[in-house]
């Protein structure tokens, strides 16, 4: 009987999660589907296309603006409960660039807009999201929304969609966000971020794109929840009149220990799974990958390159090294090729080039952006199109 009641209770709690509660408000810019009146300000050319409006900003930032009501306008102090949390802009762009979604609220200076960046990629029908709820200026009273296009940029805008999630959906996405894993980065030897809580799938997809991550710490939430439970157990137990003090102490110790151990195991399962994905990714990308195709975390194929170079510089004290960045490649190369050490003496006759498409061999000379930097020589080992070892002829 108790099992049946528990099952029904679980159903009652979970049932709302099955209802699709995500709300979309779509502002279409497609021909024949436009549902708000857009106006143009500043120096911008608008071209009507069948699938949207092509916006080309001139020498100033162009603005496309529309009057709109999104929240409950009769309740200016309404919470965000009925108001969009994010906006998605559907675009075609030949070149990637940053545009801005912007808004005006009744209390703002007339004509002023609060911008929120949107990094639009190249491609067709790409959707770029902005998590508006993360801006403290985003509010239910917004009366105008706008797209701001920087000078010289062209983008075809098809649709602007406002999205909000209901409470059950947010709870569900909050749970899913705890299972979103970071990747194995350089800081992991000193600390790990652990589970992060976000409330919608868009935020979940970008948790790890910032340092620190943009969610709420799941570890902190667990610590607080655990403390709250322990306080509750403590209060309930010590108000109990029929137990002696010693019995209360023993019972509290037992229940506290079980609570902490239970929470420990939950957190360990989560973190253990994350570490296993890290190990697994390294195993697949390097340990079992073909030599020459192996990659390791943020190093790409660097380690295979270092292994390729090592025998070529084994009998030397130094060589010149060119890499895309000084760190971490230079100190790592120093370690891998030691006692041959990368130096900066351009009179050196051995040049090691890693991932530098701007460096090439032209007329038997090493060139940087087409300009010769060495005397004549030969490529004594080529790793790929942009990585090789060049030796100046004696």
């Amino acid at each position: 009987m108790r099992l049946q009641l528990a099952f029904l209770a679980a159903l009652a709690i979970l049932a709302p999660l099955t209802a699709r509660a995500e709300t979309l408000t779509v502002l279409s810019l497609r021909e024949g589907e436009t549902n708000v009146q857009w106006q143009v300000f500043k120096d911008m050319i608008i071209t009507r296309r069948p699938d949207g409006l092509e916006l080309t900003a001139g020498s100033q930032t162009g603005v496309l603006i529309a009057d709109i009501t999104l929240g409950d306008s009769t309740d200016a102090k309404a919470t965000y409960a009925g108001f969009p949390h994010a906006v998605g802009v559907v675009t075609n762009a030949v070149r990637a660039g940053r545009i801005y979604f912007a808004w005006h609220s009744p209390g703002d200076v007339p004509g002023s807009l609060t911008p929120f960046p949107l990094d639009v990629p190249t491609g067709r029908d790409t959707v770029t999201y902005a998590l508006l709820h993360r801006s403290p200026q985003w509010n239910p009273g917004v009366d105008q929304v706008a797209l701001m296009i920087p000078p010289g940029m062209t983008v075809l805008v098809k649709e602007v969609t406002f999205i909000r999630w209901s409470l059950p959906e947010k709870i569900w996405h909050g749970f899913l966000s705890l299972l979103s894993f970071d990747t194995y980065k350089l800081h992991a030897i000193n600390f790990v971020w652990g589970p992060q809580i976000t409330w919608n799938p868009i935020h979940r997809s970008v948790i790890w794109n910032t340092l620190p991550p943009s969610g709420f710490s799941g570890t902190y939430a667990l610590n607080l929840a655990l403390l709250a439970c322990l306080v509750a157990v403590f209060v309930l137990l010590f108000r109990h009149k029929r137990l002696t003090q010693d019995e209360k102490r023993l019972l509290f110790a037992r229940r506290a220990a079980m609570l902490v151990l239970g929470a420990w195991i939950v957190l360990d399962l989560r973190m253990g799974a994350e570490l296993l994905t890290w190990f697994s990714r390294d195993f697949r990308s390097y340990v079992v990958a073909e030599e020459g195709e192996r990659t390791l975390r943020n190093f790409g194929r660097f380690h295979d390159f270092a292994e390729f170079v090592r025998p070529l510089v084994a009998d030397r004290k130094s060589y010149v090294l060119f890499t895309p960045r000084a760190y971490p490649e230079v100190p790592h190369m120093r370690y891998f090729t030691y006692p041959a050490v990368p130096g900066q003496d351009t009179n050196d006759d051995m040049w090691v080039i890693y991932n530098r498409p701007d460096i090439a061999v032209i007329n038997s000379r090493l060139t940087l952006d087409g300009q010769p930097v060495t005397d004549e020589g030969t490529v004594i080992g080529r790793f790929d199109d942009a990585s090789f070892v060049f030796q100046v002829s004696p």
Binding site: V192, T219, L226, D282, L296, Y335, Y338, P342
Partner: protein, 462 residues
């Protein structure tokens, strides 16, 4: 093939360590046979490398196969001969009994504990496979632990200033100020392997994670049942930062293992009769001596509270019993200090202690709070310790729990002082060195939690 070099290097050094531990026990063995192996594997490599280092400094040997074999051969021969003469060269003399109690009575608890240990073992094994198979990745390994080992291998001698990547030499007061035991162990492995192999030299570090978990288990086992000890071992080994460092070529897990061994032995001396207490004190001194030759901070952070505890605990058995443990620590530490002083090396970790100026850095406290409360580096160890201190206070004020609590409190307070009052606050704010300092203490924290909760549930009185 290169993994075999790791195995044999550890085998030779571990054998010397086992003999040394057996010699320290003398006619009053206190360790279980497997404990003796663990202690030997921990002490042997570090001390053999110290002997090799000072042998090279004295001009007696080079860092070659012959040099390392000479050190190991002499030590093993001398110790074996000494033990044979004293008729105590026995392989499995049984030491002090362990605490009573087996696995949990409830099947659910037994199975659950086994599953958790299996999950921990799975992560460790997977990480170890990668440790042997991946190239070196981390900065401190690239600049210090492996770089110096490689330099010793190439030079076949002590080298303090290594060619840098801009036609300069590294400042010897940075990486070379660290004890050379770990880099030399990598040199020893490479000499056996016939060349430098990242997998072979890095695979060594997995041993120290296993030793940490094993020694912690047995340290707990002398106070609590199999089930509780296994739970403690799981809680220590499952902490993410402990595991990550355990399967990567860093040294803080080694430091943690030596501290657990030193303190665990010290705790046992409190419960033993005079004769066996002496042995435990000797073992404790040996392990703390080994600790001082792993990383510099042991000298400044861990040795002072340990020395105080040694004095207080040993006093009960007579101050004379402290002489030999003190001499053992001095025998390991003093030559290294003399070397540092005579070569102008610093006494801090890559930063001279004397160069540190004092000023307040409150943001370090925020960083500490974030690390301990908002990040799962040590899972729930920080909260568990706070609860233990609050509700187990009557129990942790004295006895073995008091020893652990005192040590933890002292070292934590010292770390807080360093991070809030010196330029090393950067290590806290950037969350670099700070986490590793906490990692060295985390196993001791778990041991304190286990012993205290066990006592509370048993109804122990203060």
């Amino acid at each position: 093939m290169s993994m075999l070099a790791t195995f044999f290097a550890v085998l030779f050094s571990g054998a010397a360590g086992w003999l040394l531990v057996r010699a320290v026990e003398g006619s009053k063995p206190v360790l279980q046979p497997i404990e003796r192996v663990l202690y030997g594997l921990l002490a042997g490599p570090i001390l053999m490398m110290e002997l090799a280092f000072f042998g090279a400094w004295a001009g007696i040997l080079s860092f070659t196969l012959g040099g390392f074999l000479l050190v190991h051969g002499v030590v093993i021969a001398l110790l074996a001969a000494m033990l044979w003469r004293r008729k105590i060269l026995t392989f499995a003399p049984r030491g002090s009994d362990l605490a009573s109690g087996g696995m949990p009575e409830r099947r659910f608890a037994r199975v659950g504990l086994c599953i958790l240990l299996g999950f921990m073992a799975l992560r460790f094994l997977f990480g170890t496979v990668n440790l042997f198979a991946l190239p070196t990745y981390w900065d401190d390994t690239i600049d210090n632990w492996n770089m110096r080992g490689k330099a010793f291998l190439i030079e076949r001698d002590i080298i303090l200033e290594i060619p840098n990547s801009n036609a300069t030499l590294t400042d010897k007061r940075t990486e070379s100020s660290y004890p050379p035991a770990v880099p030399l162990m990598k040199t020893w492995i490479s000499v056996l392997a016939g060349g430098w192999y990242d997998g072979a030299v890095n695979g060594l570090h997995a041993l120290w994670y296993a030793l940490l978990v094993g020694i912690a288990y047995f340290s707990l086992r002398r106070h609590v049942s199999v089930g509780w000890s296994a739970l403690g071992a799981y809680m220590i080994g499952s902490q993410p930062l402990v595991l990550i460092q355990g399967v990567n070529p860093y040294v803080d897990v080694l430091v943690a293992a030596t501290l657990v061994a030193a303190l665990g032995s010290l705790l046992q001396s409190m419960k033993s009769d005079d004769a066996h207490a002496s042995t435990w004190l000797l073992l404790s001194g040996l392990m703390m001596g080994v600790a001082t030759f792993t990383k510099n901070e042991v000298l400044l952070l861990h040795l002072p509270p340990y020395a105080l505890l040694l004095l207080v605990i040993g006093y009960k058995h007579g101050l004379k019993r402290l002489v030999t443990p003190g001499l053992i620590i001095a025998a390991i530490l003093v030559p290294w200090l003399v070397f540092k002083w005579s070569n102008g090396l610093t006494f801090g970790n890559a930063k001279a202690i004397g160069d540190l100026t004092l000023s307040w850095h409150g943001d370090a406290l925020v960083a500490m709070w974030n690390m301990l409360a908002k990040e799962p580096n040590f899972l729930l160890t920080p909260l568990a310790l706070v609860l233990t201190a609050l509700f187990g206070w009557p129990l942790i004020r004295r006895g073995p729990r008091g020893v652990l609590a005192f040590f933890l409190a002292w070292v934590l307070a010292a770390q807080v002082a360093i991070y809030t009052l010196t330029p090393l606050y950067v290590e806290a704010v950037m969350q670099t060195g700070m986490g590793r300092g906490f990692l060295q203490l985390a196993p001791i924290g778990v041991m304190l939690v286990i012993l205290t909760v066990y006592g509370l549930l048993k109804g122990d009185k203060a």
